[in-house]
Symmetry: D3
Subunit: 245 residues, 6 copies
């Protein structure tokens, strides 16, 4: 169903290995995109890894008692079928319409995703059976936990379609980056522009942070005025003279 | 795009001509369906007609600045293209995710829908250019009005797909009935069962109302106990003896 | 069930005949009560009368599918039984927990209340079958209308108990006053103090309004400084010299 | 207190006399501004006039019982003092933090504003004493009505300062335009650019509306493709040949 | 006040010792009950035990300044009196109407409940004095913490009455089960039916989980088709042949 | 900009060293102040210290795309300028209007505040770059974390002005006390009265807690009746006879 998933170019993963989601939002803002951070995408467990991958989208609508039943789990259009289509390395992004009283997945589905090599799960909803989900080791970002199953509040309708998640539009194969601050979408068409700008922004902010730690006041430093920019450029040149780190 | 629209059987429209949405929800509840009334579907203007039709669904996701632009209005996947596919007599049901600060349609799109014979528009969002929309004469049920255009807050992604609208699942070609209390969905598969039960329920409640007006107390009357039921059946029989009205 | 209703002293109704709910809230605020106005208590229809009466309370909790059924309407603890206990002149105050997608009453129950001489209905929920309810002539203040019946979202549990309604505590037999601004509760124990202060406040504000219309600036006038107070007292004395109006 | 108010250039009022707030938001969106419509700014009464004026801002913070008292109404920093500084023709824009259970103004303050020639009042809060406020004839856009006074929920802290109102930033002397769709802010620095673009957009949409009424389908018409644009330009030229209207 | 508490049958506690709340909600859904999980019932501290007990209900309404005072704590209808009626092993279920800015109990009341042998406290509100409450060792599920006392926002009105808690109806002596996913109510009348179904569901899901870990894909496994069911039944028979574990 | 900051009298810090925010809210309630606890002020990290200091206020309004830009960070009215005015020992209290999808500060600004000796940061919004902020060691109380920067959702407009924060009015130099339960404001004018009452209340509740642990039932103990008060007074006298602790 829907758009075919794409493998992730390993150079993208490498380039973004040390770029925070905070930095990505700053770069996207400078390109005019303010609405790229998925509200409610909190880490389920402390210590979850930073992940980068293509979005594999799933979509729910509200529950209707004739459709949202345990029997529907055996339908060809079911979360089970969607999971069996997930490629290794993808990030499952699930539109649960922000519903917090019906867990979209429990331990069994998360275990299967982990087995298939899915990098992580992000949703604006919640999961169920917290102990079991933690046991699978699948990294999850969501709004929390609820005991009831998905069909208590949600009807599953498809995968690899455009969705809204946490108030943000996500299209199949958009790039997703997630860390302690949650999940950010980088639109597929902008990835090429965003990566170099983000890497540079991260380096600049690292340098500014060291200046602050040295006691330099903020005005003129952050954002950098001309004199500060010159100092930074000199530092960059010095770094590069020392060869690759 | 999506499911083909279906024409409405005129016998359905006739049978439901005098059945209120309140009665339909009672009948659906007795079949186990509690979640069939579209929240936020208030009449835009007083005196709008009661309407019955098949759902023709439209779907939005949140705005992303690279996609939700005035230029997108010329895309093949646009509200314009969706409107040109609407058959006469359908009811446009629009999933705006409950967004109340971006009007999905203004006077121009509503005028075109009216020209195509669309029976009405229902959404969990809002419309814009209130004066202009009222001028088109298209019956609208929604959450109100906002000046900004759809792309200020929404990205259009498709039509005749399953949607959520006002917290209810709506599938293309489900039956929609709307009156002063708002919009109710009758799942396509249940229409045959629901209609006779609804017509009977309406007749029963009409009779009970007359009993109340005669001063009969509620206990035993509503719901009807055995004695009341016998009196009602006798009245029904008397009515039928007098021939069709 | 619960506390016995009390008849309203006609002198209270007379004294409050021309006191607005806005004035009552000001007087109650001066006595330290800020939380006396029922949120969401909007008039259902234009032109509803100003009413004064004792609270007759009803209480709902959320729906549970084993309890909230059409069959429950015949139970001894039902809205029907509660209505049959309402005395003429009371104001039914219904705790619907702010639920807006299940109408607490429709045309039949409202017709019965009207027949029993109930002065009005106020709730933080909604009613159903708008056309029918308007037809009964019962004055209603609520959050609006929904097609589904009460049992779709609510379980009825009792009457003449303490309740919350619109974020305010209401006890059986508290005094309720309702006008275009909605409903205010005057705690039973404070009625004796509140009435004379409210009548005087209303007179004072009427005089100030006339001063404003004459072009007097606000500072010193409202609130009144010493000079203004002296002028007002002189006017009051003049009024009283002219004998009762 | 705060920024001095500025008189409105009558050419601005004239130019915007027939431009809707919907059109203004479209023009502002094309300049990158999506957040310019004040949420919750609904007309208090039907038939209120379209108004244009400079923002005269007022600011509340939450109530604290030691500060938000009837006595505070006599303070030099009070709504009374703010009103006495309002110039004729201004639009009072009041940040009530979206509070809907404390009316910012009642009949007396609105009467004084009307006397001073204030063009209208817009707030993300509510007013009190609905009957009295309607009686003053001051046009009001707000979220509705509540009986309690401002100090029940709000502390007044100043005027002609930057504020948020309905989720939008408003600075003193920004241009405000209000019609049936609510209130839009045009930042002072953008007025010169926005007006000609808005006038042209309004003319274009008027022409498109007539084309729709003639039965022209939407694709290619709205937005206009090259052929449509050529037809429109020809029509404009024809109009201008006929001389000023 | 209200319904007498009942002791818990120890066989119920034993049967449910290894059944998760997630499994209970699945079983209740199959019986038509979707609304049984208390929203907002999150563990206050990590590592709280799984508990099972009868509901002992408490009920608050909103604060009114003449009633909700520190003096009210000495009234015969007070949280103190309610606590003194709690039997060992009960679970206190407190309807705080979802209020999150007034803590229903602090260290002193929780210490007393712990002394009386109360198994745990669940509320849709919050507690206060977090350090102190944690110090008592009483397991608590709630929405979090706030410094203000209950009377800042709530008036206590009774105990062992029907309540709403977290959007769910709870009656005195309903069965409550709580784990890391929060609290689920099993209606008293359904306990006999629910327990064997839940024990079987738990065993089935445990077997499916092991199948997933072996790499079996989801379709046909979960939910189980005929072949899977046969394999499961064979495994169950094998287990039972090996005698009790 | 705004009011000058004031140094904290060290005797206040000392007196409040062992008084909880819960106790402070009880004392303030007895003086008629119910609205003094900042909603949403949760500790960002476990183990943050208890802090006392004067409020240094910052104020945001909603984002407008022409104002809320990375370029604005270099303006004289910027968060940077505000931070450079913060005295050692102050508590930064930031009105972010409860916005949870734009982080007001990240690691760089928090590092600078830490360097200047700021005691802590409290806001009704969120911070960004969680790992970086935790690294600075600045104690933070807020609603959580978001990746986007402040200008994504907020426009900074000033400091040391009256603000609302978490639904509470805060004026520059009000006293702020924060612990695990969040932040409480003690109005500057009431500090002298509140401190001795709070110290005494804390001692009384400590004694009551010990009585509960001895098994004394609540009625008559908490609140204390005459006999209990006499016992407590005797204990206090005994304590004081033993000399200062």
């Amino acid at each position: 169903m829907g758009t075919d998933p794409l493998p992730l170019d390993p150079r993208i993963a490498e380039a973004l290995a040390s770029v925070s989601t905070a930095t990505l939002t700053t770069v996207l803002l400078k390109k005019g995109l303010r609405n790229v951070w998925l509200r409610g995408s909190r880490p389920l467990a402390p210590g979850q890894p930073r992940i980068v991958g293509h979005a594999y989208t799933l979509r729910f609508v509200p529950a209707r008692e004739d459709l949202a039943t345990p029997a529907s789990w055996a339908s060809p259009i079911s979360t089970r079928a969607a999971i069996e289509g997930m490629p290794a390395g993808c990030i499952a992004v699930v539109d649960a319409m922000g519903v917090t009283d019906a867990g979209i997945f429990g331990d069994i589905l998360c275990a299967r995703m982990k087995q298939r090599g899915v990098a992580g799960l992000v949703t604006d909803g919640v999961v169920r059976d917290l102990a079991g989900v933690l046991g699978t080791g699948l990294p999850v970002w969501c709004q929390g936990t609820a005991a009831p199953s998905s069909v208590t509040g949600l009807t599953f309708v498809g995968w690899q379609e455009p969705i809204g998640c946490g108030g943000v539009a996500v299209f199949p194969n958009d790039l997703i980056v997630i860390d302690m601050d949650g999940a950010v979408v980088v639109p597929a068409a902008l990835v090429g522009d965003v990566i170099p700008a983000a890497v540079e922004q991260e380096r600049l902010e690292g340098w500014i942070m060291r200046e602050v730690e040295r006691g330099v006041p903020l005005p003129g430093l952050y954002p950098a005025n001309e004199a500060t920019t010159a100092r930074y450029r000199a530092w960059v040149d010095g770094q590069q003279d020392q060869g690759p780190k």
